[in-house]
């Protein structure tokens, strides 16, 4: 944006007032976005008396980790009272293989579709891309039937399969669009030197790929970890991923409602993706803009 402040008339009192208004606006919205996190965090540190007697914004008297411990290892999800722990591990076991496999398949497919274009490659890409747009409701029923048929209903491998399949359109899109911008001459030169499909991929494309690999992994990780629809549709009881367990924990009311435990559980569920966001925010944003399907 143009550096208007450096232009003539850039220092009038009106401008100072304008700057003040600008910062006021920016900070107010900063508060709007950050306040829920602060409220949730501070609630998770309070005990129930503090919650009943204080307000949303009153700070906890001390950092009390009791509700975190309870949410992690004791809280009741439905009828079993194991805390979030086993479900958190379900999510880990589901997310890691699904992210890795869908990323590898996406990279190879994107490579083959751009650098070894066969007749109809664009049509194949368009057909794969269509998968980015469908509302998943339209595949829930046959998927539930198929998982049952394969003996994968209510299992982590079943969810891994689901997430690979419906993550593929995105990973193919990411890699395809990235590889399209890599000059074909590189590949041609290597072909003349006698390098084959996989050698070219391994020696030439892969060393150029780290940025898009990071973007894809972060995108897939966030999508799969945060998924609720597939988890809620295909699992029950002990097979649930952590998002589904969190929802059940919050909506299981036996006796007193422990808001502090709910909030601690929400933060435990959010922790992995928030950590990724804080550590690799730049790539996260790039994935969002690429994943929003800009063709």
């Amino acid at each position: 944006m143009a550096d208007i402040a450096s232009l003539p008339g850039g220092n009038s009192p009106w401008r100072s007032a304008g700057r003040f208004g600008l910062y006021f606006l920016l900070l107010s919205f900063g508060v709007y976005y950050i306040l829920p996190l602060i409220v949730v965090l501070s609630t998770s540190f309070k005990d129930l008396d503090e919650i009943r007697n204080g307000t949303l914004l009153s700070l906890p008297a001390e950092i009390n980790l009791e509700s975190w411990r309870y949410a992690w290892s004791e809280a009741c999800i439905g009828v079993t009272c194991t805390g979030l722990k086993p479900y958190f591990w379900n999510s880990v076991m589901m997310t890691i293989p699904a992210v890795l496999i869908s990323t590898v398949l996406g990279a190879l497919t994107g490579y083959a579709l751009t650098k070894f274009k066969f007749p109809g490659a664009n049509m194949v890409f368009a057909m794969i891309l269509f998968g980015c747009f469908i509302p998943f409701q339209v595949v829930l029923l046959p998927m539930a039937q198929s998982l049952g048929f394969l003996g994968l209903a209510n299992t982590v491998p079943g969810l891994v399969l689901v997430h690979i399949v419906y993550g593929l359109p995105f990973t193919v899109l990411f890699f395809r669009n990235y590889y399209v911008s890599i000059p074909d001459d590189l590949i041609k030169a290597a072909t003349i030197d006698g390098a084959g499909f996989f050698t070219i991929f391994w020696r030439i494309l892969l060393p150029l790929s780290p940025p898009i690999i990071v973007v894809t992994i972060i995108w897939q990780f966030t999508q799969i970890w945060n998924d609720f629809l597939f988890g809620a549709s295909f699992t029950t009881g002990g097979g649930q991923p952590v998002t589904v367990a969190l929802n059940n924990l919050v909506n299981t009311t036996t006796g007193v409602k422990r808001y502090n435990v709910d909030m601690a559980a929400a933060l435990i569920t959010a922790a992995p993706t928030l950590a990724v966001y804080v550590l690799a925010g730049r790539y996260f944003v790039r994935g969002l803009t690429a994943g929003s399907v800009k063709g």
């Binding site: 944006m1 143009a2 550096d3 208007i4 003539p8 304008g18 600008l22 920016l26 976005y33 829920p36 409220v39 307000t55 949303l56 398949l105 497919t109 490579y111 083959a112 070894f116 274009k117 066969f118 007749p119 490659a121 794969i128 269509f130 998968g131 747009f133 509302p135 409701q137 595949v139 829930l140 029923l141 046959p142 399949v165 593929l168 359109p169 074909d184 084959g196 499909f197 945060n226 998924d227 609720f228 629809l229 809620a232 969190l246 929802n247 919050v250 808001y259 909030m263 929400a266 569920t269 993706t273 928030l274 990724v276 966001y277 944003v285 969002l288 803009t289 929003s292 800009k294 063709g295």
Partner: protein, 307 residues
Amino acid sequence: MKTNPMTEQSLPAKRPLSDWLRWNVAKLVVAPTFALIIFFVYGFIAWTGYVSFTKSKMLPTYSFEGVYQYVRLWKMSTWHVAMENLLVFGGLFILIAIVLGCLLAVALDQRVRAEGLLRTVYLYPMAISFIITGTAWKWILNPGLGLEKMFHSWGWESFSFDWLINSDMAIYTLVIAAVWQSSGFVMALFLAALRGVDSEIIKAAYLDGASLSRIYLVIILPTLRPVFLSSFFILAHMAVKSFDLVVALTGGGPGNSSIMPANFMYEMTFRRNQIGLGAASAMMMLATVMAIVIPYLYSELRERKHG
């Protein structure tokens, strides 16, 4: 589209064996992904489409019954509530998120201090699940101990905020939470585009005496038309798919007052053993999404041809 030099090479009949192998390697590599998509996307849509024309209840049946389920669906008041909610929620959510995202992007583009920090704060909700967003806002908006109590303790005794348990207002709590989650993303889209605006034009207009607000309204915003369009389509797409947020924040209630089509579909399919009806509602959702996506893709492709 530029053709790959190798594509032309592949057309003549005579070519070395190694070349032939290479083409097939590419096809073989694409095959598993393509097969998965054909089966799990196209095959499954066809299956759901077919089931929507049957009287399937708890288990799928395959005798064709025409549009029976669709007639039934459109006679159900719950489905009408869900579609109306989608309109109200989608309209407000899209409008507010775009206005807010655009405003924040313009504000952030004024060479402000701590821009990186502010951007991080605006965007972090996008990293978390709608289930967490719903859980957090459910606590904040709960009528007993949440916002209401806070205002009471500040001396505003008559303040009342019962939207979560008020069937006329529950749908708006979804708008609040969804805007909170997604407006930072719209901001990021706009900010990226603003960074691409030619600053010379702006300087020239400024030196000609145009005010800053006029420069934005008349010169810059019109050039952002593609961003407005893509934000609109992306948010509309998100609105139609809304499911988790409703489950976590309102549970579709009170009653069915804040139910959305995705929740209706889930309820019919997995809770009430009305598979045929669930399939019909899923097909209606697909049609809605396609009505949004096809013009979007069309406009994107056309723009790229002209641009």
